[in-house]
C-alpha cells in the first residue's frame, strides 16, 4: 500500500489587515501551482483560503492588530492541507458559528464563510479556545493529471 507523505510545505505569517486577504489567496495559489491543478481547483482553493483568512482578520483581534499564520502542505497523493491559525479571542460556540448565515460581524458579513469552506474543500476542521485562538484545517485533493502516475 502506497503511503502518503508530505512533499512540500510553506508557512507565512502576516498581520490581521484586510489588505493581506488578496496576498494570502495569491500566495496559496502560487504554491499549489506545483501540483498543476485545474483553474477551477485553484478558484476553489483561493475561495476557501479567503474565507478562513478573512474570518481571522475580522474576528480574532477586535481591539488590535494581531498575527495570522498560514501553512500550506502538499502531499504525494495530490492533496493539500491549508492551516490557518490565530492567537485571538477564539470562537465561543463552534457549531453555532458554522451555521449558515450566522455571523457576529456587522452587515458587511453574510455568515456564509464556513458554508463555503465546507463546500469547496474535502475536509474542514475547526478548533478554538476562548482567549487562546483558533485553528482552521482544510484539505482538498486535486484530480489526477494525464501522463502522471497519480
Amino acid at each position: 500500500m502506497l503511503s502518503i507523505s508530505c512533499t512540500n510545505e510553506v508557512t507565512i505569517q502576516f498581520l490581521s489587515r484586510s489588505s493581506n486577504e488578496g496576498f494570502a489567496r495569491n500566495a496559496v495559489a502560487s504554491f499549489v501551482a506545483q501540483l498543476d491543478p485545474t483553474l477551477d481547483e485553484i478558484g476553489d482553493i483561493k475561495t476557501a483560503v479567503s474565507e478562513a483568512v478573512t474570518n481571522a482578520i475580522v474576528h480574532a483581534y477586535p481591539e488590535d492588530i494581531g498575527k495570522i499564520m498560514l501553512r500550506i502542505r502538499l502531499y504525494s497523493d495530490r492533496s493539500i492541507e491549508i492551516y490557518v491559525k490565530d492567537w485571538g479571542i477564539g470562537i465561543d460556540d463552534i457549531e453555532k458559528a458554522k451555521t449558515a448565515m450566522f455571523t457576529t460581524g456587522n452587515d458587511e458579513r453574510s455568515g456564509m464563510g464556513f458554508t463555503i469552506m465546507d463546500s469547496f474543500m474535502d475536509k474542514l476542521k475547526v478548533v478554538s479556545k476562548r482567549g487562546k485562538g483558533t485553528v482552521i484545517t482544510m484539505r482538498r485533493r486535486f484530480s489526477p493529471r494525464l501522463g502522471t502516475t497519480l
Binding site: S18, K46, E51, T54, V58, E108, R109
Partner: protein
C-alpha cells in the same frame, strides 16, 4: 474604482470589477449607497464581467442591494457572472432568489 454606474429611465447599470472580498466590500457598499441615493432606481442591473474574484463578502454586498431593491419594490438582476463568482453565489443559494442572466 470597483464600480462604474450609468443610469437611464430609472434603471441603474452598475459594472463591478476586480476582487470582491472583505477588503473591497466596505468601500463598495459606500459607493453603492451614494449611487442608489442619487438615482433611486426602480431596476438595478449589476454586470459582473470585470469581477476577478468573489467570496462571501460579495454575497453580503449583493444581498444588501437585493434587500434595498425589495424594500422599494424594485428589481435586481445580476449579469455576466464569471465562473468562480457564480460558484460562490450558487453555494450561498442566491440563484434561487435573485435573477441571474
Amino acid at each position: 474604482m470597483p464600480i462604474t454606474c450609468t443610469s437611464s429611465d430609472r434603471t441603474l447599470h452598475a459594472n463591478l470589477t476586480g476582487d470582491i472580498d472583505h477588503h473591497a466590500a466596505k468601500d463598495l457598499i459606500e459607493q453603492f449607497e451614494i449611487q442608489m441615493d442619487r438615482y433611486v432606481p426602480k431596476n438595478l442591473i449589476i454586470d459582473c464581467t470585470g469581477i476577478t474574484f468573489m467570496d462571501s463578502s460579495g454575497i453580503a454586498v449583493i444581498l444588501r442591494l437585493w434587500h434595498r431593491m425589495n424594500a422599494n419594490e424594485g428589481t435586481l438582476s445580476v449579469q455576466n457572472i464569471p465562473k468562480q463568482p457564480l460558484k460562490v453565489l450558487r453555494a450561498a443559494g442566491l440563484d434561487k432568489i435573485i435573477t441571474f442572466e
